[in-house]
């Protein structure tokens, strides 16, 4: 036996797994001199099909929009380009939305990458750490002159996805098996994704809401976030946004920014 034979079996076995044109590794064989081609192809098939199914499980609305044949072909290209870096399959596919954005055949569906981003955020919210959402009564107890300097801790599940397309409506219609016939895809929509208790919540944010929440997530004080939101959208309404975020359970605690 060669000195490095121990280490090299994996190095020899792996490269043809995702390269259908490559020869079967010379280190393997069938029994009694039988060929190993179809035998090795079982592993090739297991790897590719199971990873396609992993992507299909993470991105069901994308698959519904493209149809299964289109989706499987697109997923197969992505898998060959980017194999999972973690044994946790629910962590796979983080690069898939960006891959879709440059996948030639997906160009006629320009909203598809944003729908994928919402689905990726949905699964992250699903697995995020548990935390009790902050009740609106705690905000009501704050003295008015301290409101401007409040800083919020967002729930571990809370995420924002912004889209120049109607990605939230398209996601909602295709995630639950509804119809997207009457959606004007060119209407920009921003998504709030969070999970106050058991169920993941995906909501469309009102005008300026994405900038507002993104600022709060980054640790801005309430007044700073509101100013940035008004700058982004003249239709921004502070009371509506705060009420919506509390109702969705987007925060877990608040502190006075003056204390920083």
């Amino acid at each position: 036996m060669q000195p490095d034979a121990h280490a090299c079996y994996a190095a020899a076995f792996v490269p043809p797994l995702l390269d259908p044109g490559a020869d079967v590794p010379a280190v393997v064989t069938g029994p009694n001199g039988k060929s190993a081609m179809k035998r090795y192809n079982v592993y090739r098939n297991n790897v590719t099909v199971s990873l396609i199914e992993a992507l299909a499980a993470i991105y069901p609305a994308v698959q519904r929009l493209t149809g299964p044949d289109f989706f499987r072909a697109m997923a197969r290209f992505h898998i060959r380009e980017t194999t999972p870096a973690s044994p946790l399959l629910f962590d796979y596919g983080r690069d898939f939305p960006a891959f879709i954005a440059r996948y030639e055949h997906a160009q006629p569906l320009p909203w598809l990458p944003d729908v994928a981003r919402i689905e990726r955020a949905w699964l992250d919210a699903y697995h995020a750490a548990d935390a009790a959402p902050l009740s609106a009564t705690e905000l009501a107890a704050i003295e008015p002159d301290r409101l401007a300097s409040l800083v919020f801790t967002v729930h571990p599940a809370t995420r924002v996805v912004r889209s120049p397309f109607a990605a939230v409506s398209i996601f909602a219609a295709n995630r639950t098996g509804g119809s997207s016939d009457r959606i004007d895809a060119s209407t920009p929509e921003d998504a709030l994704i969070t999970r106050p208790e058991f169920d993941v919540v995906v909501r469309q944010l009102p005008p300026g809401g994405a900038v507002f929440l993104t600022c709060l997530i980054s640790g801005c004080m309430l007044a700073e976030a509101a100013a940035a939101a008004i700058e982004a959208s003249q239709d921004f309404d502070l009371a509506t946004n705060i009420a919506g975020l509390f109702e969705a359970g987007a925060f877990t605690s608040l502190t006075s920014g003056d204390a920083r």
């Binding site: 069938g30 179809k38 548990d130």
Partner: protein
């Protein structure tokens, strides 16, 4: 311990280490069956949980396990530790695995004689290894490391394979026996894998069992398989876990139980997953064989 997998539930529901459930049949846990399982109220049985599916920080997956664990013993089944690979074990993966053992106090903990990660890529399949002195040393080191981390014996599962390595110098049963003797680990005997590998490599399943260290078997797996053909047009069995257990597997299972006595036995069914009544009926068929063995033991004792 990893802060993200701290056992929050144990504050409300103190879990105790549960002893191996004896000659009881169980099934893989599938979330879509939870409502039907809970509707029935606690029954005899146990559930096997795929560790990697529950390595997220929180959310519904852990709520489901916490609820199920109140009524049933668990078997924690790792799929991706890559014990059979040449690379060092992934330390953060091992820490997550240890966290699940601490949190859910499973009666049984198992992993595979296989590998799935090479360098930085995870291939999501149970890949085969050559059986040599060098791979034996490495597998034993990996099992020592896992058992040290979880502070209890691991059950190592025999693989189903489709190819052999030219460099192998030992039989699979000699390899597994040596691993068990050196590390003190127990064994998970997958009877379906024996049938699949015996067919694929042209050896006798009965001879494999005769050579297998049955005294160390702490759990049995049974699953459905599919049929394809190899390059020579001969039967190639695929370990597909997508249907009922085949007759030759049941027959071999009866032989195993007659020799080993009643050991915890699990029905694996991981794709084309049926409704709960179908899976439960498959477990009931295994239970009947285990109970028959029990009653024969009782007669011998009398």
């Amino acid at each position: 311990m990893d802060a993200t997998i701290r056992p929050e539930a144990s504050k409300a529901i103190p879990l105790r280490f549960s002893y191996a459930p004896g000659g009881v049949a169980g099934t893989s846990f599938k979330p879509e069956h939870l409502a039907a399982i809970l509707d029935e109220g606690p029954q005899r049985g146990f559930f096997e949980v795929h560790a990697e599916s529950y390595m997220g920080a929180g959310g519904p997956p852990h709520r489901m396990l916490e609820r199920l664990r109140r009524d049933y013993p668990f078997s924690l089944h790792g799929v991706c530790m890559s014990i059979g690979g040449p690379s060092p074990l992934n330390r953060s993966h091992l820490a997550r695995f240890r966290g699940l053992v601490a949190r859910y106090q499973p009666a049984l903990v198992s992993e595979h004689l296989a590998w799935s990660t090479h360098e930085t890529s995870f291939f999501n399949d149970l890949l085969p290894l050559p059986y040599t002195k060098a791979t034996l040393d490495r597998v034993c080191d990996h099992i020592d490391e896992v058992q040290e981390a979880i502070r209890r014996p691991l059950l190592l599962e025999n693989p189903s394979t489709y190819v052999a390595f030219r460099s192998s110098t030992m039989s699979e049963t000699d390899f597994i026996r040596a691993v068990a003797e050196r590390t003190g680990c127990g064994l998970l005997l997958d009877v379906s894998n024996v049938v699949v590998s015996a067919t694929n490599h042209g050896f006798s399943a009965l001879q494999y069992l005769a050579d297998f260290p049955l005294a160390r078997v702490g759990e049995v797996h049974l699953a459905g398989h599919a049929e394809q053909s190899d390059d020579e047009g001969e039967l190639l069995l695929i370990d597909s876990h997508d249907g009922p257990v085949a007759d030759p597997v049941w027959k071999l299972f009866e032989i195993v139980i007659a020799r080993c006595g009643p050991v915890p036995t699990l029905i694996e069914w991981d794709s084309n997953i049926p409704g709960w009544p179908v899976l439960k009926a498959e477990a009931a068929a295994a239970q009947a064989i285990l109970d028959r063995c029990h009653s024969m033991e009782d007669r011998h004792a009398a």
